[in-house]
């Protein structure tokens, strides 16, 4: 049944803005993105919101709902109390463009810094043979829909603009882990560069990223911690350290 709900929407741009209260109709089964769209169509024609698929598959409608980074298309209105005001604000870690839309170009820059997949030179198209169990480890990370909620929630950058330069963020740690675990990728030293160039060491595994991931990717347990352990192994185990020096073992 349709009922009226209270919505508080952040409106403004990089120069100024604030929360605006609206009352809007909500129908059974609707998600927060539905009611935002209704506000847009009936009360605020120029309300800026990013969205695409409305099915949790594209990761466009990321915002903060009652302070928590979430996808608006996957957040049921009914999950809040009848009298509760739902507050929607733009992602905090990124610069505001307008209303609920932020400038997420930081993420695309970081994507360009991760060295690409390298296919074995002697392996022709169609010749690859891989076990399902081996591809599944990387497949978990390839489920990522690039909603950047993990990037938004990560406290290394959330309130520390200065860390952005040297920190790729959880989304790109899983990208590196995915390539590192890829059965065919030939580029060496991915873990080492994750540590030295992409800021893996700055993560102190509070698992906030895993908690907000709408794809339920175990970012911390399956990507970050294994990479940290391997890096630590090489760095601190004296015999292995010696091994890397003597035999020039790369790519561990």
């Amino acid at each position: 049944m349709a009922r009226n709900i209270k919505l508080r929407i952040w409106r403004g741009d990089s120069t100024d803005g604030g929360l605006k209260d609206v009352v809007v109709e909500a129908n059974e089964g609707e998600v927060v993105l539905d009611v935002i769209h209704r506000v847009q169509a009936t009360q605020m024609g120029d309300l800026a919101v990013r969205w695409n698929c409305k099915a949790g598959k594209c990761g466009s409608c990321s915002m903060e709902i009652n302070g928590k980074p979430r996808l608006a298309c996957m957040t049921q209105v009914a999950s809040f109390g009848e009298e509760e005001t739902i507050t929607v604000t733009p992602l905090r870690a990124f610069p505001i463009i307008k209303d609920l839309v932020t400038d997420v170009s930081f993420n695309y820059k970081k994507a360009m810094e991760v060295p690409a997949y390298e296919h074995p030179a002697n392996l022709a198209p169609g010749e690859a043979r891989m076990e399902q169990i081996d591809v599944e480890r990387s497949q978990e990370f390839r489920k990522c829909i690039e909603c950047f909620l993990c990037q938004d929630v990560c406290h290394v950058v959330r309130d520390h603009e200065e860390n952005k330069k040297s920190f790729a963020g959880p989304r790109f740690f899983i990208r590196i882990a995915e390539l590192d675990m890829h059965p065919l990728d030939t580029l060496k030293n991915r873990k080492k560069t994750a540590q030295e160039e992409h800021g893996l060491g700055m993560c102190n595994i509070t698992k906030c990223c895993t908690e907000v991931c709408p794809e339920h990717i175990k970012i911390t347990d399956n990507a970050i911690i294994p990479m940290k352990e391997r890096v630590a192994d090489i760095k601190y185990d004296p015999i292995r350290w010696l091994g890397t020096k003597i035999r020039k073992r790369e790519g561990l």
């Binding site: 998600v31 594209c58 990761g59 198209p125």
Partner: protein, 626 residues
Amino acid sequence: MTLERHKYDVLVIGAGGAGLRAAVEARESGLRVAIICKSLFGKAHTVMAEGGAAASMGNVNDKDSWMVHFRDTMRGGKFLNHYRMAELHAKESPDRIWELETWGALFDRTKEGKISQRNFGGHEYPRLAHVGDRTGLELIRTMQQKIVQLQQKDGRETGDMESGIKVFAELTITDILKENGKVSGAYGYWRESGEEVLFEAPAVVIATGGVGKTFKITSNSWEGTGDGHALALKAGANLVDMEFLQFHPTGMVWPPSVRGILVTESVRGEGGVLTNNLGERFMFKYIPDVFKDKYADNEAEADRWYEDQDNNRRPPELLPRDEVARAINSEVKAGRGTEHGGVFLDVSKRLPAELIKKRLPSMWHQFYELAGVDITKEPMEVGPTCHYVMGGVEVEPDTAAAVGVPGLFAAGEVAGGMHGSNRLGGNSLSDLLVFGRRAGMGAVEYLKKNGANPVSEAAIKAAAAKIQAPFDRQGGENSYSLHAELQEVTHNLVGIIRTGSELKEAIAKIADIRKRSANVAVTGGRKFNPGFHLAFDLDNMLLVAESTAKSADAREESRGGHTRDDFPGMDNKWRQVNHISSFDGEKVNVRAQALPPMPKELFELFDVHELEKYMTPEEVAKGGSN
């Protein structure tokens, strides 16, 4: 303020699978390429494709070959396909899939470690390369990352990663520009700032996807507003067979806010069955004559097929999509639907819960989160949803060049001809790889003979005036309500079942909305203003709807994604006819054009008795062209 200008060799409009594949091809041939996305990079509708990409690699059943795939594609399209496109597609798709693997894609595997292939409607053998039910995401991410790889290479060589290929995200193109009868570039605006941009490029590839947002119930995202179809029409290109729209049989129907969201065909491929409110597995009643020898007419045989495909016919749930959508529509109309106007789709009795979650993870997630339904325990409610447009820009099959406009190319869903009157599931992802690459190659070849074609100041002025217009109008209508009105008209009058009188009514109503849309006024400024964006999208949707309604009115038969209540049968004479839409600046005109006949070597791939079902006796007697 000075106008932002960019110069490229090739401009690719659209950053879904076809656009990215075209861009890779053009860049690898040494050209400078710009990619335009209407949304963020990597969010295009390809991301939503679930089931897989069809390619006759023969990894699961080695009887498969390009010839079998070609036959399935032609049958699925009821022989209205452009034979040459279907041929190229069937021959080249395995290479396109394997190539993705060399770019880092990780498909699911067979026991031998090859790429696994799954069953799908209308495909004789297991043929769809897949990654669970998120194959589209894998494709787009692989190509997105391939573009990054090319950018890193350019960066090492020039010091600027964006020197050879640059992505312009959240930018809408409003005009394709021409000088001296040839493409010279394109004009548009940044969605973020509303500021205008000029691209000078002698070759433009349109890869903008579909038109679903013209309809009320659709699986398409907001981007599917037919931009490329309309841009091409306005640039002087033709659209072919716009009456053919695919209503995917299984969209979600409840709750209302998710109505239309896709439920992948893989649910049926993995053994899901369709039942009505009497518990009857109704698809057995809807096997058309042309498919009687290929589909099981009883439950026992249909169930055995999952174990033994060589000695049993396929279950009718796996008929081509048009057949299944019509069947569901009929069941609901006859009062045998679910409470919310759909039918039941149940996979919980076929597979154990663990396997469902593994093979259909995003379906499980989608129903659990959005509808409160656990598909491992209970059935889903599903009904038809507007999913795909078979019609599109008329192109030369080998080069993807748009007929009539030198320098313009089109690939993927926006191009027409490949799928005839109905597309088989899985043929879209392979289509965009095969023809995305060919469009890139087409542009490369074109530029060997054609250089830069400077844009005139007059063309810039005209394009700029159009963008400013809605801000200068006062008190005009609201673009949101006009859009909703258009969706009502298409849903009620140009939907899954059509009649002549309703189509004529639709044509008149669309003309009326178009007239009123010329007065649309926009509130607020230029900065990220969705009301302003919709004003342009609406204009495109109106042209597409006009083309569809007029083509549908002209075709007096039922075939594939076009069903006429007043002409319920398939008529072999109509098989020889393509409908060509063109735009005269005022309105869309539709004319009939003869379908190119299949050459002898392709003709002979079919059993003559099968061809008799589709072709006139004279055509069959002729035995293909030489």
